[in-house]
Symmetry: C2
Subunit: 256 residues, 2 copies
């Protein structure tokens, strides 16, 4: 099978001109087939504030009411996604921006209301990567926004890490996939105050231990869970690293 690199970058990297320029330059140099998944939360919060739409969070997750859904549709599907696509085209990367509704590649269901009503937030249910894989083989580079749809006419705000993990799993049927989650640090750190204390390798057993002793916490937990799940379903390699380290394999490698 041909190789494919799927990179997920958080909002901060794509929302500031300097870091976005560097990211797109680094990304354009990655050889072979590739996919970029992006966030955009900080821009959504900023635009929502200007529009007078209140940003409500619960445990770091956004609550998406009908007005906030419009904001994230604008910001993730429009502003952030299309700026990335245009930027990549300038670097001769034939990018195609997609939400899950486009070519119906990722269907989700509105998260059931339990203790918290997250509103228009989608949990991924079905990925159809067939046409996506064909496009990639023709040289197209998908740029995936953190939005899915329920196939009933509703767009749903969807965690970008989950999009990356689900897309990687589905594309693993067509490619030898390397999944890379980029965040602010060089990798998962054993000492959060020491940027150079990157843990080079994490197995599921080590992961459990790091969660127990607090080395791994917060948003890193679902990120690693997504990555391990992807590995179990056929993704070849998974890394956690900093966007600036792309291509250097300096981060934390996850293995089963």
């Amino acid at each position: 099978m041909e190789k494919l690199t799927l990179i997920k970058v958080g909002g901060k990297i794509v929302e500031e001109t300097d870091s976005l320029t560097k990211l797109l330059d680094d990304f354009s140099k990655i050889p072979g087939h590739k996919v970029l998944v992006h966030g955009g939360g900080r821009s959504a919060t900023a635009i929502a504030q200007k529009l007078g739409v209140e940003s409500k969070m619960h445990n770091g997750r956004r609550i998406t009411d009908v007005e906030m859904l419009k904001v994230v549709t604008m910001v993730y599907g429009g502003l952030v996604n299309k700026q990335i696509v245009a930027g990549l085209q300038a670097l001769n990367v034939n990018a195609l921006g997609l939400t899950g509704a486009d070519i119906n590649y990722m269907r989700s269901e509105k998260r059931p209301v339990k203790e918290v009503d997250y509103g228009f937030v989608g949990d991924v249910k079905e990925v159809d990567a067939g046409l996506l894989a064909d496009l990639i083989k023709r040289g197209i580079v998908p740029v995936l926004a953190p939005l899915t749809h329920d196939k009933k006419g509703n767009l749903l705000n969807t965690n970008a890490d989950a999009i990356a993990g689900e897309a990687a799993k589905a594309l693993a049927q067509h490619f030898e996939v390397t999944l890379i989650f980029c965040f602010e640090k060089k990798g998962v750190l054993s000492n959060e105050k020491d940027d150079d204390s990157v843990i080079p390798l994490i197995t599921p057993d080590l992961f459990d231990r790091y969660v127990s002793d607090g080395t791994v916490q917060g948003g890193m937990i679902p990120k690693l869970e997504n990555a391990f799940e992807a590995l179990r379903v056929g993704v070849k390699e998974a890394f956690i690293t900093r966007a600036g380290e792309l291509g250097k394999e300096n981060g934390t490698r996850l293995i089963l």
Copy 2:
């Protein structure tokens, strides 16, 4: 050649829930290959106002400064485009929302500054409909937002009638294209106060006469010029009609 229907709808139709629902329902029933091109100006103006971005117009054309470019990128490329795509997917139409930057299908150049500086407005220079045509033949229905790019990293605000005309011309190399411009009236009216005074047929000679005597004026002039130009370059049929009349061929037909 296989047939393709390319429909351009103005902002008003796609910006109100009732008319959008009706449009998507009518559009989903059109047999065979199809493409939808949409505007979105009213929403852009409304969102811009809420964001404190001033809407400047010259002869009915928007002046797009850097802040307004962000607004139209959000509104045309995100809010309006993705709501249409999700709505069509619910009707089992396999829609794919695109700006000109996506798969680099439409490149433009920033309009030169003469008496007026329109800002980040693009005049279409190059359409690559090859991959687009392949996707259409696979059952994909492109939904084209009124945004292009300059292949240097900049998105450019682009008139939706021009997008429709240019896409129709390029697709005419691959399909037998019917181009339909929808607006608020049943067709071009001989008496603007009588909604039933639809002119059934307009030739270039009649067009010149109608422009001279004021029957055809304002935004209808470039719309008809676009349509005649498309016919000259190989588009099979062109109509001006109301969105509600889609499929009925009740509007104004243009012939060379």
